[in-house]
C-alpha cells in the first residue's frame, strides 16, 4: 500500500431541505490517498469545510463495510460509482485519476424524497416490507429447526435474494425509479423457503401494491438495477415475482 495521493474536484449536490431548491457546488479534494475510501475522501472535504465554518456535505453512512445499506450516491452518473458490486463506502479512491472532476448526486426518485444534500428518505422500503415481507410467526411458535428440511439449492437461492442491503441503488439506477428489484428479492427469498409458502399469495399482492403506492415506477427490463446492485441481486428475482404475482392474481384463495 503505497502512500500515493491524488487531487480532485468534486461537484456535489447541496440542498438544505426537502422543499428547498438544490444546486451543485464544486470543492477541491486535495492530497487524497488512493487507499482512502470514497466516504473517507468526503470526510476530508467535510473537514475542510468545517474548518472554514461552512456546513459539511450531509451524507448517510454507518457500517462503512458494505453491509448496512446506509450509504449511496450517484457518482459520475452511476449509482455507488464506477466499481461493480461495490457500495460507495467500499469504493476506493484508487479507482479515480488525478485531476478528475467527480459529480456526486443523491438518489433521485419520487419514492425517496431528499432530506438534505445526499441524504434521502428511504422509509418507503420499510413500508414495502411492512406490507408483507415477513413470515407471520410469533416468538415461541417455531418448531425445531430440523422439522422441515430445506433443499440446499432452495436455501442458497433464498440467500442470494436475501443478500439485499436495501440501499436503494436499484431505484436510483432504474430509468423508471422502480423498486421492483428490492421488492422482488424479498418475495423471492420467502417464496423459495417452505416457511414462506402459506402467505406467498397475499404477500406478493400486498407488497406490489405498496410499491406502487409509494410512487415507484414499473419494470421495463432495462437491467440497470442489476448492474448497480452492490450485492449482485439478479433480475431473475423480478421474473420470479411476476410468476408469483400471476399465480396470485386470479387465485380464488387470496
Amino acid at each position: 500500500m503505497a502512500g500515493k495521493t491524488i487531487n480532485l474536484k468534486i461537484k456535489v449536490w447541496r440542498q438544505a431541505g426537502p422543499e428547498s431548491k438544490g444546486e451543485f457546488e464544486t470543492y477541491d479534494a486535495k492530497n487524497i490517498s488512493v487507499d482512502a475510501s470514497f466516504l473517507e475522501m468526503l470526510d476530508v472535504v467535510n473537514n475542510q469545510l468545517e474548518r472554514h465554518d461552512k456546513e459539511p456535505v450531509a451524507f448517510d453512512h454507518d457500517c462503512r463495510e458494505g453491509i448496512c445499506g446506509m450509504c449511496g450516491a450517484v457518482v459520475n452518473g452511476v449509482a455507488h460509482g464506477p466499481q461493480t458490486a461495490t457500495t460507495l463506502c467500499q469504493l476506493h479512491m484508487r479507482k479515480f485519476k488525478d485531476g478528475d472532476t467527480i459529480t456526486i448526486e443523491p438518489w433521485r426518485a419520487k419514492g425517496f424524497p431528499i432530506v438534505k444534500d445526499l441524504v434521502v428518505d428511504r422509509s418507503a422500503f420499510d413500508r414495502i416490507i411492512q406490507a408483507g415481507g415477513f413470515v407471520s410467526v410469533r416468538t415461541g411458535q417455531a418448531p425445531d429447526a430440523h422439522a422441515i428440511p430445506v433443499p440446499k439449492k432452495a436455501a442458497d437461492e433464498a440467500m442470494d435474494a436475501a443478500a439485499c442491503i436495501g440501499c436503494g441503488a436499484c431505484v436510483a439506477a432504474c430509468p423508471n425509479a422502480s423498486a421492483s428489484l428490492f421488492t422482488a428479492a424479498k418475495i423471492t427469498q420467502l417464496a423459495k423457503l417452505p416457511q414462506g409458502h402459506p402467505e406467498r399469495k397475499t404477500r406478493v399482492i400486498a407488497m406490489v401494491q405498496q410499491m406502487d403506492k409509494e410512487g415507484f415506477g414499473s419494470c421495463s427490463k432495462h437491467y440497470e438495477c442489476e448492474a448497480a446492485c452492490p450485492k449482485e441481486i439478479k433480475v431473475s428475482n423480478i421474473t420470479n415475482m411476476n410468476r408469483e404475482y400471476m399465480k396470485a392474481m386470479l387465485s380464488p384463495d387470496v
Binding site: 500500500m1 438544505a16 487524497i32 490517498s33 487507499d35 482512502a36 475510501s37 473517507e40 470526510d43 473537514n47 469545510l49 468545517e50 474548518r51 465554518d53 456546513e55 459539511p56 450531509a58 453512512h61 454507518d62 457500517c63 462503512r64 463495510e65 453491509i67 448496512c68 445499506g69 446506509m70 461495490t86 467500499q90 476506493h92 432530506v115 438534505k116 428511504r122 422509509s123 420499510d126 416490507i129 411492512q130 406490507a131 415481507g133 415477513f134 413470515v135 410469533r138 416468538t139 411458535q141 417455531a142 429447526a145 430440523h146 422441515i148 433443499p151 440446499k152 436455501a155 442458497d156 433464498a158 440467500m159 436475501a162 443478500a163 436495501g166 427469498q189 423459495k192 416457511q195 414462506g196
Partner: protein, 636 residues
Amino acid sequence: MLESHIPSGPIADKWSKHKFEMKLVNPANKRKYNIIVVGTGLAGASAAASLSEMGYRVQNFCIQDSPRRAHSIAAQGGINAAKNYQNDGDSVHRLFYDTVKGGDYRSREANVHRLAEVSVNIIDQCVAQGVPFAREYGGYLANRSFGGAQVSRTFYARGQTGQQLLLGAYSALMKEVARKNVQLFTRREMLDLIVVDNRAVGIVCRNLVSGKIETHTADAVILATGGYGNVYYLSTNAMACNVTAAWRAHRRGAFFANPCYTQIHPTCIPVHGDYQSKLTLMSESLRNDGRIWVPRSKGDKRSPEEIPESDRLYYLEEKYPSFGNLVPRDVASRNAKEWCDKGHGVGATGMAVYLDFRDAIDRDGRDVIDGKYGNLFQMYERITDDDPFKLPMMMYPAVHYTMGGLWVDYNLMSNLPGLHVLGEANFSDHGANRLGASALMQGLADGYFVIPCTIGDFLAKAGPSKVKEGHAAVRAAEKEAQERIDRLVHSKGSRAVDDFHRELGKIMWDKCGMARNAAGLKEALQEIPRLRQEFWEDVNVTGSPGTFNQVLERAGRVADFLEYGELMCRDALERDESCGGHFREEHQTEDGEALRNDDKFCHVAAWEFTGETTAPVLHQEPLTYENVKLTQRSYK
C-alpha cells in the same frame, strides 16, 4: 445493594423455576402498558417484536433511517447454539461451560446457563422466520467451528449471519408495525433517560431530521443500544455506535459494570492512514482454514511467497497445539501484538501478521475456499488491493466488542427499576472475554426469550407509571438536553469534532487497549479530563441545532465518550489483575497469559455516578461458581 435476583436451585432448573415464579400480566391488561425500546439491533428488534406480539404497546427508536441498518447487520461469522446437530458431544452444559471459561470466569453462571438453554430456540425461531442459514445437501443445517470451542455449533448464513438474523428480527418488527402495535421512530437519538421517583419512565431524544427535542414516556424503558467500542475512534463498529444512551442512563443512576472489558478482535485489516475512519473485521471463521504466521527472523522484509516454510513461525500452532489457530480472541490478539512488538510484524508499518490460505487452497482447491470465504476475500481485496488467493492476508487486532455495559440483574433490569438493558449494551453474559458467535446469540436470547418473560414480572409488581408528558421531571430533562445542545453549538471553537475523537481514541488505545498498566492508566486519567475540558472550550460545531446536522450528532457522542473513557480507565486501574480481554501487564504468567486474581477480583465492578466533579463509587457483585471450577484457562 446490588441484588442480582438469581433464582435458587440447581443451575439447570433456575430458569424454568423462575419463569414459573414470576408474576404475569394478564393478556387483556398488556395493551395498557407502553414500553419504550431504544435500539433496533438484534436485541432491540427481537424484543420490540416479541413484546408487541404479546400485546404490549411498543415505541421503538433507532438512529439510522431504517431499523434494518442497526450495527448487528455487520456481524459476519455466525451464531452459536447447543443443538448438537453434528453429534460431536455438544450440549447445553458444554456451551455454558465454554462460555464461562472463554469469559475467563468473570460472568454470572446463571445468566450464561440460561443463554445456553435458549440458544436452541433461537435457531428454531430464525428458521421459521425465513432466515436462510447455510444447509447441507440433505437439506439440514450446516455448522462451522469458531474460536474457543472444540465442537461445531456455529450456524451461519454465508459471511452475512448478522445481516440475515437482523433481517429476520426486522421482518418480525415490520409485521408488528403493520399491525400498528409498534410505533417506529427512526432517525432519533436518545439523549437522556427520564427518571421519576427512582423509576425509569421515559426518554428524551433528538429528531435527527428536524433537530427537535422530543420526550416520550412509558411504563418501562428498554435500552438495546449496542456497544461502546467507538470510544477508541477506530474500531470495527459502525460510525454511529455510541455510548450516549447507556452513559446518560448511568448519569441518571444506572450502574455501569465492568467498563474496562473490551474485546480486541485478532483479525482485522491493519490501519493504513490517518484519514482512516474505521477498521474492517475479517471474520473469525477465516481462522478455520487460514494459518497465522510471522517471519521467524526479525525485520524480514521479503515478500511472503519468498519466505520458505522453515523461516515461517506459526506461533499459535506452536504454542497452543490443541487449539492452534482457533484459540479465543483475546489470546490470539495478544500473541499478534507480542510478535509485532518483538519486531516480527509485517507490512508497511510492521504492525501486521499474515493469515495465509496457501495450504488450505492446496488441500481443498480454490473453489472450495472461494465457496466458503469468497465474499470476505473480495472485501479484503477491495480495501487493500491485494488478492488473498495469491498473497496471504495481513491482519492486526482491532477493537471489536465491549463486554462491559450497564449492570443488570438476572431479569435484565438495571438497578434503576423500569430500566432494562439488552444485548451488547448490558454487561451480563460474556465475562471478561466473549467467544465468537456468542453476541448474536445473546442479543436474540435477551430479546426473544428473556425480556418477554421478565418484564411482565416488573410491570405486574410496579403497575402503570403515572408520569405523563407534562410532568415537571419530563420538562426538566427536555430542557437539560436542549441546553447541552445549545452549549455545543455555541462554543464555536477552532477544532473539529473528529479531532477530539481521534485524540481520545489514541489515548484509549495506547493506555487502555490490548495491554494496560497502572502507570499508563494513571496518565490517561490525567489526559482525558484535560481533553474534555478543551473540547467544551474549543470544539467547532457547524450548522444550526434545529436542522439535520451530522456534526452536532457526532459532537454529542464524542462529548459522552470523553466522560466515559475516564470511567473505563478508572475501572481498568481498579481491576488489578488480568482476565480475558483485560490484560494488565503487571499480571501475567510466564507464558504471557492473563493471570487472574480470584481472591480479590472475582466480582462484577459496578460503578455509580455521583456527579461531574466527584469520583464514581464502586459497588461489587461477588461472582460465585458452583458448577464450573475456576482454573487457569489453557488452550494448549
